[in-house]
């Protein structure tokens, strides 16, 4: 699951997966700006069929580890 999230994140952001690590953040990855972040969030919503809360979308902008955690939590809460 973690790898799937990383690959989708990289695809939506249009960067290589190798650039995405847990500590990757908007501060360390120039491409990850607010506009691209919303595109990525929308992409995850479409891929996984979920509607993320706006507060979650904001929190996910912290770093990739947080992004991953919230996606996993959402997937688990669907089961």
């Amino acid at each position: 699951m973690d790898e799937k999230i990383r690959e989708l994140f990289a695809t939506l952001l249009r960067v290589s997966p190798e650039e995405i690590e847990d500590q990757t953040s908007p501060a360390s990855l120039a491409r990850w700006d607010s506009l691209q972040h919303m595109i990525v969030v929308a992409g995850f919503e479409e891929e996984f069929g979920v509607d993320l809360d706006p507060e979650e979308a904001v929190e996910m902008y912290r770093d990739f580890a947080t992004f991953k955690r919230i996606v996993r939590q959402r997937m688990e809460s669907r089961r």
Binding site: A30, D33, S34, L35, P54, V58
Partner: protein, 353 residues
């Protein structure tokens, strides 16, 4: 609390005008890779927007809307008691463009006319002013003009804003009418966050210099000068989906309004992704939320009335609908208004070449 109930004020008509020239977000903006353009359009739903040529200002768009409105309602300019112009793109720094419009509209000189320097909340703040002039000032007719040429505020290479901001102007006529229902308006302000959406230089705090006019890559990756509009996208997103939602929710609770009681929710046309989050958080059915962002973009102070004009011009004048309006943006400033719209006159949107 800046919340007021205005009894006996009627919204008689609302009209809009846009530039004829359109920008297509998929085929224009060649500085941005096509894959990015597609994703931005899919996210914001702004396929195109209108862009005014250099010689057309927001005041020209509002003037066209006002002339169409007054003519259609059978009102003479001489019957107007006040002109309120909500805009962040005035003709001049001095005087208020509303004064110039008094002359251009051929209104009497025995009117009050002034600008309100408000952007996306401008229509709601403008409504507050117009209603106050009628109820508190005893005026009979107030022409509320609300419009912006935001394309002139942004750098055409700043991907953060250039895909979203468009140009538009509107005119709304408010009249004293003892039989009209209540208009309830609440406005909020947080100037502590003003730097999340502003033009940093060119005013008196930081006057214009050769340096401030220079277009260069900024810390957030956007290409613009310090005299172009800057937006901290994530902070504005956070503001919109928390503060604005909270104010709308508490307003509805105080007014005992549920989504079932509201016929139309007119939100400032910020961007579709963000607005959809607001709509879902408030549990509004999508069919009650009209949009014009897909073809007019985010027109600042014009966006709410332009969407209303578009909606009601299609509904016809027989519509009687409970409307909830919310504008939010520069300031930071945000507001909510509730009104019953009953038989409003709304002509087709004018296009100005």
């Amino acid at each position: 609390m800046a919340k007021s109930v205005f009894t006996g004020v009627r919204v008689s008509g609302v009209a809009g005008a846009v530039p004829k020239a359109a920008v297509n977000n998929l085929t224009d903006h060649h500085f941005c890779p096509i894959e990015d353009r597609k994703k931005i359009v899919a996210l914001t739903k702004v396929e195109s927007y209108r862009k005014a040529p250099p010689e057309i200002c927001a005041s020209d768009l509002c003037l066209a809307a006002a002339e169409t409105l007054l003519s259609g309602l059978g009102r003479q300019p001489g019957e107007i008691d006040a002109i309120v112009f909500a805009t962040i793109t005035p003709d001049y720094r001095v005087p208020s463009t509303a004064c110039v419009l008094q002359h251009r509209l051929k209104c009497r000189t025995t009117v009050i006319a002034y600008d309100i320097s408000m952007g996306c909340s401008g229509y709601v703040v403008g409504l507050y002013n117009a209603c106050s002039l009628i109820k508190g000032g005893g005026l009979k007719r107030v022409l509320l003009l609300s419009g912006d040429t935001q394309t002139k505020l942004c750098c055409d290479q700043d991907k953060n804003v250039v895909f979203i901001l468009g140009d538009g102007g509107t005119a709304t006529l408010l009249e004293a009418d003892a039989g009209a229902g209540d208009i309830v308006i609440e406005v909020m302000t947080d100037g502590g966050r003003f730097q999340n959406l502003y033009v940093p230089a060119g005013g008196f705090r930081r006057p214009s210099t050769e340096e401030t006019r220079q277009v260069r890559e900024q810390p957030d990756g956007g290409m613009r000068s310090e005299e172009h509009l800057y937006m901290n996208g994530m902070e504005i997103f956070k503001f919109s989906v928390t503060d604005v939602v909270k104010t709308l929710a508490s307003f509805m609770e105080a007014e005992r309004l549920s989504p079932d009681d509201v016929d139309q929710l007119f939100l400032h046309q910020a961007n579709w992704f963000m607005n959809d989050k607001i709509v879902k958080k408030l549990k509004f059915p999508p069919e009650k939320v009209p949009y014009t962002i897909g073809f007019y973009g985010n027109t600042g102070s014009a966006s709410i009335p332009l969407t209303m004009a578009h909606h009601f011009s299609r509904q016809g004048s027989a519509a009687r609908e409970r409307c909830l309006l919310s504008g939010f943006g520069v300031g930071l400033s945000w507001g909510v208004a509730s009104m019953m719209v009953d038989g409003v006159f709304a002509p087709p949107i004018v296009e100005l070449a």
